[in-house]
Structures are given as C-alpha cells and as structure tokens.
C-alpha cells in the first residue's frame, strides 16, 4: 500500500483515536492490512465486522459478498485468495464449526486467509450474545487430519485492530490460515483505538514466483519451505487440490512417501518458526513465586487481580498468551521452573489448561479456574483462586 492508498483508507476510517467496537476494529485492521475481499454470513456477536466491511469495501476498491452460509463464506475467501487478494471472513461458534472442513483445505492448499472467530457461549446455539473462550481447541484441532496453523488472541479493541494486521502478515508469510480468536465481550465493547500512521504500518506482501512456468514448483522447496504462490491468472497454471499432492501439485493419493513429505512440510513450516511466532506479554514475573497465565478478555481481569495481590505484597506474576497456536511451550516450561504454581482462568471448562499442563510437565502445580455461562471472571474470583493455590502449597 502506498501513501496515497493509505490516505484514502484513513479518510474512510475517520478520526483517530476512534471509539469503536472490537468487531469494527477488526474491519479497520483488515483494510489497513490490505484486505480487499470479505465474504461472510451474519452471526451474533460477529456481525458488526461484516457490516463494517460492507461499508468499507466499495470505497477502497475491494469486494464484499454475503454468502449463503459460513461454508460458502470461507470457500469464497479461499477462492479470492487464489485470485490474488488478501481475504477475510468473520464468524462465531456455529459458523466456525461449519468452516472447519475448508479451514483444513486452506491448510492443505497453503492458502493465506484470515478468519476472525468472535467466540460466544456454546455448545450449539448456546448463548448467542454472551462471550466465551470455548473454541480454543477447535481452532487448533477442528478440521480432520494433521495440520498446523496460527491463532492470535486479542484482549482489547486496540489489539483487535493490531492483531488482524499481524494475522494478515503471518498468513501471507507462511501461506496458512490465521485465526483471530476474539470473544463477544471484546467484540462488542468500545474502547480507544489508535489507527496506525502510514510509517507505523508494516505489511507483508505475498511472495509470487519469479522463475519461468516450467521450473516453478508450487508446493515444494524443502522440508519447512513456504513456496511462493503462483496464484490464478499469473500464467503459472497452478493446479490446487485438497488431495495429497506432489510438489508439482498433482494428486498422489496412494503414495505414503508423498503424503508424509507434504504433510510434514505443512506442519514443519510452522513448527520450525514457532520461536519467532511466540507472542506473550509478561508482567511482574521477576521474583514471582506464582503466576496467573491467561489470554483474551480474561487476561484483563487477571491483570487487575495480580495488581491487587501485589499491593498485598504477594509475589505473583502475570503471563498473557497473545499467540496461542503454535503453543509457546518453551516459555511455559521456563516459567514452571521459576514458579511454584500457575493459575489458569479461562471461560471454558478446561481447554488451554491442558497444553499448559503438558508444557509444564509436572515441574510446578497448575490450577484451573473455569467459568462458563457468558460472564467474565471477576477480579475477586481470581484473587481467591490464587490465594487458594498459594495456601494449598503450604499445606
């Protein structure tokens, strides 16, 4: 995006700082990241992103289309990405469930795209207007087969904007779907949102092949390679299939060797980059004996609780997961060697608690503070759970 393009978009977005909802900030982040294609289907509490994109897209020369369902929405987004556009869809629980097959397709075909899931309380239709963090594992494992993708978890309206830009950058860099896991609370709250200036905006653009068609290898390049994307219309005659395929993209469904090579590369390109994908916020961890590990909206309550406890001279630290997948297990292992216990508050009955326990591998205690029903934790609940964790150790 050049300065002129940026200025035109700034005019569409209005004044900064803005006072907008998290859902709207996701749309702002998308257009600033260069997203020029949005396909979606209305669903509470994600609809405001679609509404924003519907108003913004014509003005920045992009395309908005309302599809017949969420399966079609993610399909259109993948199609648009192969037509050369940065593309996004947004949804919530039921729609996210419907998208899973095609998210796997996007992983298999190495299609950059961004999916915002404004989590609501489930299962099934659940509590449509209430927030939850119940899709953390679905984001990682929702489609069948082995794959890796990237998931980011904002905890504020500002971070919705910032992380959607980041999501597009990572998506283009690694040719993988990136999921932004916000929730009904962050999605609907309004906060001060600073729109980045032109020179603050760091965008990653899609790498396309530079070699002649005959020597282009659309799905290869080494064990953890991210091949350049010869998208449609460039003359590379790329054949894209969800079947197990060779480096040339042609089906090889009976070959154990080709399947292993392909799927290993799809996973390794993310796994080997996992250190560079660590996004965590640490506070008060120096000399901390206990820590609260949280993410998303819950982390704001956790921070409030940690501050309260520190005022009472408790040696308690705070670690927030911003990048959830790939999971920053080394950092959690490091933390477990420092502290005696970790509290994991989350708005589900036990999801991120499990990879934390796996990473910690018994090096320290891990206590869980689940909450469901559509209400976020209160600071008092977290304070009490931390005190119980600290007291429990003494006994």
């Amino acid at each position: 995006m050049d300065k002129q393009g940026y200025d035109a978009i700034r005019k569409l977005l209005g004044e900064s700082p803005a006072f907008v909802q998290g859902d709207v900030a996701c749309a702002y982040g998308a257009v600033l990241a260069g997203c020029r294609y949005f396909a979606g289907y209305p669903i509470t509490p994600a609809t405001e992103t679609a509404e924003s994109m519907a108003s913004l897209m014509p003005g920045c020369g992009g395309t908005y289309i309302q599809m017949e369902d969420e399966i079609a929405s993610i399909a259109a987004v993948i199609g648009a990405s192969w037509a050369g556009e940065k593309a996004m869809t947004t949804t919530s629980g039921p729609g996210f469930s419907l998208m899973q097959e095609n998210i796997g397709y996007a992983c298999m075909t190495e299609t950059p795209c961004v999916i915002v899931n404004v989590q609501r309380s489930g299962p099934s239709t659940g509590q449509p207007t209430e927030p939850a963090q119940g899709d953390m594992m679905q984001a990682r494992w929702g489609s069948h087969g082995d794959y890796e993708l990237i998931a980011l978890v904002p905890n504020s309206v500002q971070e919705c904007l910032d992380l959607v830009i980041e999501a597009f950058n990572l998506s283009e860099r690694f040719r993988v779907p990136v999921i932004v896991l916000t929730d009904g609370e962050v999605g609907h709250m309004r906060e001060k949102t600073v729109i980045p200036e032109f020179d603050e905006l760091k965008l990653v653009e899609r790498e396309t092949p530079t070699v002649p068609r005959e020597s282009y290898v659309p799905f290869g390049g080494g064990e953890a390679a991210v091949p350049p994307m010869g998208f449609f219309g460039l003359g590379y005659r790329t054949y894209v299939t969800g079947l197990t395929h060779t480096e040339k993209g042609l089906p090889a469904t009976s070959s154990a060797e080709e399947h292993t090579k392909l799927v290993s590369r799809l996973c390794e390109k993310i796994r080997q980059a996992s250190e560079s994908l660590v996004r965590i916020e640490e506070r008060y961890l120096d000399e901390a004996e206990f820590a609260v590990v949280s993410y998303g909206i819950t982390s704001r309550v956790a921070l409030n609780a940690v501050r309260t406890l520190r005022r009472r001279k408790k040696k308690i630290g705070y670690l927030r997961l911003i990048g959830l997948w790939p999971f920053p297990e080394e950092r959690l292992l490091g933390l477990s060697k420092q502290v005696k216990g970790i509290l994991v508050p989350e708005m589900n009955l036990g999801q991120v608690y499990h990879p934390i326990r796996e990473a910690v591998a018994g090096k320290c205690r891990v206590a869980h503070l689940p909450k469901i029903g559509g209400e976020i934790h209160t600071p008092a609940e977290i304070v009490e759970a931390v005190q119980k964790l600290m007291g429990g150790r003494r006994r």
Binding site: R190, K192, N304
Partner: protein, 169 residues
C-alpha cells in the same frame, strides 16, 4: 482515577448511543474509556443498559464494579438497579418516567426534550446534566462527541439539547 457510570432504561431511548458519546467524549479529553452494553433480543422496548468506565490509567477490568453514577430512564430499570447500587452513587433520574422516594437528581428530560420539539433528544439533555454534575467529561469534548454521532442537519437541535441539560443540573 476510575469513574464508573451506568445508564439504564428501555431499548429505543438511546441508552447505548449515550454511552458511546460519553466514552468518546472521554477519549477526546485524553482519557481512557470502555463502553459495554447489555440488552435483550428486542430492538425496541426491552431493557437496555450501557456501562461506561472512564479512567486516566489504562482500564484492565472492563466491567462496572460499583457505579459512581447511575442514570435511570425507566421505572423497571430503577426498580432493578437501585437496590444493587451502593448508596454512595450519584443517582440521576428522568422525573417524567421514574418515581423515586429518595434523594436523586430529578430532571424532566422527556419534558425538556418535548419543549425543544423532539422527544428523541432527551438522552442528549441527560448527557449535559450528567457532565455538569459529575465533571466526568468536559463540555467541549462532549459537544464534539455529540456532533460526531448524530445525523447531519440535527446539529443545532442537539447542541440546544446539550445546553438545556447543562442548565438543568
């Protein structure tokens, strides 16, 4: 300094918009603000509530703990929230719509709006009164925030309404 303001009434009274304007005014003052809302599945007529937190520091916990100011624009909202709110909270009610037997700042927002010719600006009058008595936002920022969130052609009416609110405090 953290100030918690709760606005409650019926859907259709501009409760959510009022919270938005108040939060935006705080931003224009250089403060931090979080606005959240809750309402039923009805677009009009159901219970509506909008919470605004204004602080000079970053706001971590985004929910109202104990409101410093409660503005009530309907009897059901009064009956529901009055008992939940601590006695230290400042209470502002629309005296045309709510019967209260205790010390509250009673302003006939609806009647004042009718006098200006449009019932719909009652919430803007309320914002003027709220800003005057609580000093949670400056008048200048509130005017700018109102102007940023109203339909074109209604600027004069809304500024008049805001002024009426300041004068009624």
């Amino acid at each position: 300094m953290r100030k918690e303001i709760q606005l409650a009434g019926f859907g259709g009274q501009g409760i959510v918009l009022s919270g938005l304007i108040l939060g935006e005014a705080a931003i224009l003052d250089g403060m931090n603000a979080v606005q959240t809302q809750s309402y039923g599945p009805e677009s009009r007529g159901g219970a509506a509530r909008s919470d605004v937190i204004i602080s000079d520091a970053p706001i971590d916990y985004p929910k109202v703990v104990s409101p410093d100011i409660l503005v009530v624009l309907s009897q059901p909202a009064y009956d529901k929230y009055r008992s939940e709110v601590g006695k230290k909270a400042m209470l502002i009610i629309d005296s045309d719509l709510v019967e209260s037997d205790e010390s509250a700042l009673c302003v006939p927002f609806s009647k004042l709006a009718d006098e200006l010719g449009r019932r719909i600006v009652a919430n803007v009058i309320m914002l003027g009164t709220l800003a005057k008595v609580s000093e949670c936002v400056t008048r200048d920022s509130l005017e700018r925030a109102v102007l940023r969130n109203i339909p074109k052609g209604t600027e004069e009416l809304n500024l008049k309404a805001l002024d009426a609110g300041f004068r009624s405090a």
